[in-house]
């Protein structure tokens, strides 16, 4: 079984060539006794191919709830009996959130909306918000606004949105069990347009939604094929009222095995801890940051809370991992 770690050492660490799907499946199948060795190797890969810096990001929900889509993990779908009500954040509050995020040392601020894709009202709010943040706060602005038209992609790139998030969420073979209102291909289309327009692509998903280990390997390989600049990894936090509300959070060891494996599949990507790490990993999140992860979301999420940014920042200081500085090179 240790063989796959030897392969990782020469192929991924040595030559920077990521694992394929079959290799990922073997890494995900390693026993608990070899988890530490897997994480250590993933950490070495991250240090060699990405460096020791950690990218810190804050996210905020510009438009919450009432989404017409039916992603079964999501408390913001208007189709489920979720307690989350629709709400809009005004531009001054958005700028305040960006300022608070920048004050933590974060270099990324992602504006998120719960929509299938933006309508004119949302685009107008984004235009005003991005301009106001650019004028007042030193931070890179990213957006996550669902599926885009070519004109919207072009406009977001033109107004200075440097990165766009659009997740594949899960393996192609499991996607129909998670979403019925749109297709995997529609998600891929937006990702491709974002890439072609010159924005950085942020594309990841959620683990622990009932997918098999083989599907987890499939998902990692499908993400790698897109070569995203960033891969945010969420762990299912079962939300009341959603179809996945009664699922159990995935185990910490499975989550860590996945983190390390995704790093071995994508040696150079920004691999970010996103939502759900508090309930899935608790204090073991630190092991993930020494196991392949090189980016974190600090502070609260869209509808749930994170631990205070100060706790993550002191964890990074304890680990002697520098926070990536702002490079306004766009």
């Amino acid at each position: 079984m240790t063989q796959i770690l030897d392969v990782a050492r020469t192929q991924v660490l040595g030559r920077g060539i990521g694992f394929d799907e079959a290799q990922a499946a073997r890494a995900l199948g390693l026993p608990d006794a070899e988890l530490d060795a897997l994480l250590d190797l993933a950490h070495d890969v991250r240090l060699k191919w990405c460096g020791d810096e950690v990218e810190v990001e804050g996210i905020v929900s510009l438009k919450t709830g009432g989404c017409p889509e039916d992603c079964h993990f999501c408390s913001q779908s208007g189709l489920f009996d979720s307690p989350v009500r629709s709400a809009w954040l005004d531009v001054p509050s958005l700028v305040r959130a960006a300022r608070e995020t920048a004050a933590t040392g974060a270099t990324e601020f992602c504006i998120v909306a719960a929509v299938r894709g933006p309508d004119e009202r949302l685009m107008q709010q984004v235009r005003e918000g991005v301009a106001a943040i650019a004028a007042e706060v030193d931070i890179n602005v990213a957006c996550s606004l669902g599926m885009l038209t070519q004109a919207q992609v072009d406009e977001l790139a033109a107004i200075g949105v440097h990165r766009y998030n659009h997740n594949l969420e899960t393996a192609r073979s499991y996607f129909p069990d998670v979403v019925s209102t749109h297709s995997y291909e529609e998600r891929l289309d937006t990702c491709e347009m974002v890439r072609k327009a010159g924005m950085e692509l942020c594309c990841g998903g959620i683990l622990g939604m009932g997918e098999t280990v083989a599907q987890r390997a499939e998902f990692a390989a499908q993400l790698a094929a897109l070569a995203p600049d960033e891969v945010p990894l969420n762990f299912l936090n079962p939300r009341p009222g959603t179809p996945f509300g009664d699922q159990q959070p995935m185990s910490a060891t499975d989550a860590l095995r996945a983190v390390a494996t995704f790093r071995l599949v994508m040696p150079r990507t920004i691999l970010r801890f996103a939502g759900g790490r508090e309930i899935t990993l608790g204090d073991l999140a630190e092991r993930g940051v020494r196991g392949g992860v090189n980016a974190v979301i600090v502070g609260n999420y869209l509808t749930t809370l994170g631990r205070p940014a100060s706790e993550d920042l002191s964890m990074l200081a304890d680990l002697k991992m520098p926070i990536k500085a702002l490079a306004k090179d766009l």
């Binding site: 905020v60 919450t64 009500r85 959130a97 995020t101 609260n300 869209l302 509808t303 749930t304 809370l305």
Partner: protein, 66 residues
Amino acid sequence: MVHGAEDVFCDRCGADATTGAHADCVRARALEPPRYCSRCRRRMIVQVTPGGWTARCAEHGTHASR
């Protein structure tokens, strides 16, 4: 969570807070904002931002994390 004599509904699940078990709700609330007004059980309009949250009941006003 019960805060005072007028708070009769669980602010996480919206059920009667004076009966039943809400230990899971109390635990979950460490990582969630309130969703229901504890006085009238209306679903509140909740805004989560990186550093805090606000929750507004049309009848009973706004609660905030700070």
